[in-house]
């Protein structure tokens, strides 16, 4: 068997780094006061993996085509590594402040990134499932990382049970798909189904062949959709999201709202557009309805939230709805649609991580104990512009971007998404999307109203650790740069999806 090992070099590096981080904890514990060393090793490992990625030859398949390294995979791995390293940066001081400065955090974080990277490259449902579980199980651990915090406990429990439930549904779908098509390999399934379409069309003009209209295939499609929709938090499989996001440590929430979601979408792209591309008529309608429900419910319920973390959780549900809209559009306009999806995911990664980081950095004085505790409520943001204009301004950038106000990444991303919907003759869908972003302005800008127009209600302080601020600057800069120079990146996104089809 001819193995091209270089293609999985980044994954190997991440694994070795994870083992190294765990090793440091084992053998080096007594010499170190805090876990900064672990963080540094983590960051450098991710950095090396990131730098390796562009040098790998794209479009290689190894392990008898289980694993592909196409531009799409490279693009998404970069997204994972960037958001992962940002998460590591913002975690350093946060974990110390919360009193859970454990080295295993970074190890588990790396394992979850490894899972995502495997998902991005998987060309076989076996690998997709394993990557998905590696990622999910890591997040069970991460979301319950604050062991004495009851909310964190609850988040871990809810994520564990519902995640297990969803992955059982997903697995059932895979098993049926295997039964119908005889394989679990994505490119094989795609070829098989398109062949069926062709022969079916040959025999009786205009009628889909029996395999394509086979009920078990439809059933498996729905089960797969249910599992994937759970991962990307689409209605009605979204219920876990607000609770888990609220309860999990903020750094984990920040990553959870970006990494697994992006991984879910890359799998969705491969499964729906490639493997089940022949069934587009079937999934398009379902997904369109889910997309509308997702963004509408996410946006509307977000309005009622007073807890900013929970509000951002609902907002991330709404954003999943926008991205699903792009996937629906790509059923008709393949390249433009999926390119807009990929582009939006990257923009979303920066702006959402940024918003969560500001939330994480902000602390307030607890009235009873006098200790600084994480600020979560809308009220805690009031008058931030007077206390700390720079942080306030960064939050403004992120909120503008999430709302979709130019010249930020969010605007351009939404623009491409809605434009691809229009190109796909789904104007009504684009209109619903635009209405939804108008609704979303209500709660995003409300935060800014609190920040800029109210007087401070509580004593606030902002985390001043340099690692956090490096991450914050990077994200704000990226949010602005993507908004100012979107075309460069969009071409990259387009090039990355072209290889899919």
């Amino acid at each position: 068997m001819n193995l091209n090992w270089t293609a999985i070099l980044p994954e190997i590096f991440i694994t070795l780094t994870a083992l190294g981080v765990l090793g440091i904890d084992l053998f080096y514990t007594r010499y170190q006061k805090d876990k900064t060393l672990n963080a540094i090793v983590t960051l450098s490992g991710m950095g090396i993996a990131f730098l390796l990625l562009p040098f790998l030859s794209a479009k290689t398949q190894i392990f008898t085509s289980l694993f592909v390294l196409d531009p799409l995979a490279i693009f998404f791995k970069m997204v994972f590594l960037i958001s992962g390293s940002m998460t590591a940066l913002i975690s350093i001081n946060y974990l110390k402040m919360e009193g859970f400065d454990l080295g295993e955090y970074y190890g588990v974080l790396l394992f979850s990134i490894l899972g995502m990277m495997v998902m991005a490259s998987a060309n076989d449902f076996i690998l997709i499932y394993l990557g998905l579980e590696l990622m999910t199980v890591s997040f069970y651990v991460l979301s319950g990382f604050f062991k004495t915090d009851l909310r964190s406990n609850e988040a871990a429990l809810k994520y564990l049970i519902l995640g297990g439930f969803a992955s059982a549904l997903f697995l059932y779908g895979i098993s049926l798909l295997y039964g119908v098509t005889g394989s679990t390999e994505i490119s094989y399934i795609a070829g098989y189904l398109t062949e069926q379409t062709r022969t079916g069309a040959d025999s009786v003009a205009g009628v889909t062949s029996a395999v394509l209209s086979h009920p078990l295939l439809s059933l498996s499609l729905i089960m797969l959709l249910a599992g994937l929709c759970f991962k990307v938090a689409a209605v009605p499989f979204h219920m876990w999201t607000p609770d888990v996001y609220e309860g999990a440590p903020t750094s984990v929430t920040a990553f959870m709202s970006v990494g697994p979601k992006a991984a879910g979408f890359v799998v969705m792209l491969r499964v729906l557009l490639v493997a089940l591309g022949a069934l587009e008529k079937q999934w398009m309608v379902i997904l369109a309805v889910i997309s509308i429900l997702t963004m509408t419910l996410g946006n509307i319920v977000a309005i009622a939230q007073q807890n900013v973390k929970r509000m951002l959780a609902y907002s991330s549900i709404a954003h999943a709805g926008y991205i699903l809209l792009g996937i629906v559009a790509s059923a008709r306009v393949l390249t433009a649609g999926s390119a807009s999806v990929v582009f939006y995911i990257l923009s979303y990664a920066f702006m959402n991580l940024g918003a969560f980081t500001v939330l994480l950095a902000l602390r307030k004085e607890d009235k009873q104990t006098g200790l600084m505790v994480p600020a979560m409520d809308l009220e805690d943001f009031s008058g931030l512009s007077k206390r700390d204009p720079l942080t306030a301004f960064l939050m403004l950038i992120f909120m503008f971007s999430l709302t979709g106000i130019p010249p930020t990444a969010g605007f351009v991303g939404k623009f491409y998404l809605f434009m691809s919907a229009v190109d796909a003759n789904l104007v009504w869908l684009a209109v619903i999307g635009v209405i939804n972003s108008a609704i979303s302005a209500y709660y995003y800008l409300r935060i800014l109203v609190y920040i800029y127009m109210k007087e401070p209600k509580v004593v606030q302080s902002v985390d001043n650790s340099s690692s956090l601020w490096v991450a914050l600057y990077v994200m704000a800069l990226a949010t602005l740069l993507i908004g100012i120079l979107p075309n460069l990146l969009f071409n990259v996104a387009r090039a990355s999806v072209v290889s899919l089809f």
Partner: protein, 114 residues
């Protein structure tokens, strides 16, 4: 060579139609789902999830048999690994939940809502 799913298998090949197996797996899947939906005890919910995974496993093995491919069996092997991992982490979560709250009933964990 296209693999096609069949329901009415030649009796000389196998006396047990594929659909029988599918019914069994579906029933087990649903019993597992019922467990998740109705039980309060988190431990039993975890077990129910294991049941659901096993139902999917039965499907894999059955299809593997009827399709003449080993892939399904390999998949089941990996599913077992995953189930073990999930069970380990899940039980760890349950243990520390019990330590903090002295209960393993899922409806007593509703601190976060709305």
């Amino acid at each position: 060579m296209p693999y096609i799913l069949c329901f009415t298998v030649n009796r000389f090949m196998s006396p047990i139609p594929l659909s029988y197996y599918l019914v069994v797996s579906t029933l087990i899947f649903f019993i597992g789902m019922l467990g998740v939906l109705t039980r309060r005890n988190v431990l039993i919910i975890l077990m129910s999830i294991e049941l659901m995974l096993n139902a999917a496993n039965i499907n894999f093995i059955v299809f593997s048999y009827y399709l003449n491919s080993l892939r399904g069996q390999i998949f089941v092997f990996f599913v077992m690994t995953v189930a073990a991992a999930e069970a380990a982490v899940g039980l760890a979560v349950i243990v520390y939940l019990f330590r903090n709250k002295n209960t393993v009933n899922d409806d007593e964990f509703s601190l976060m809502r709305w």
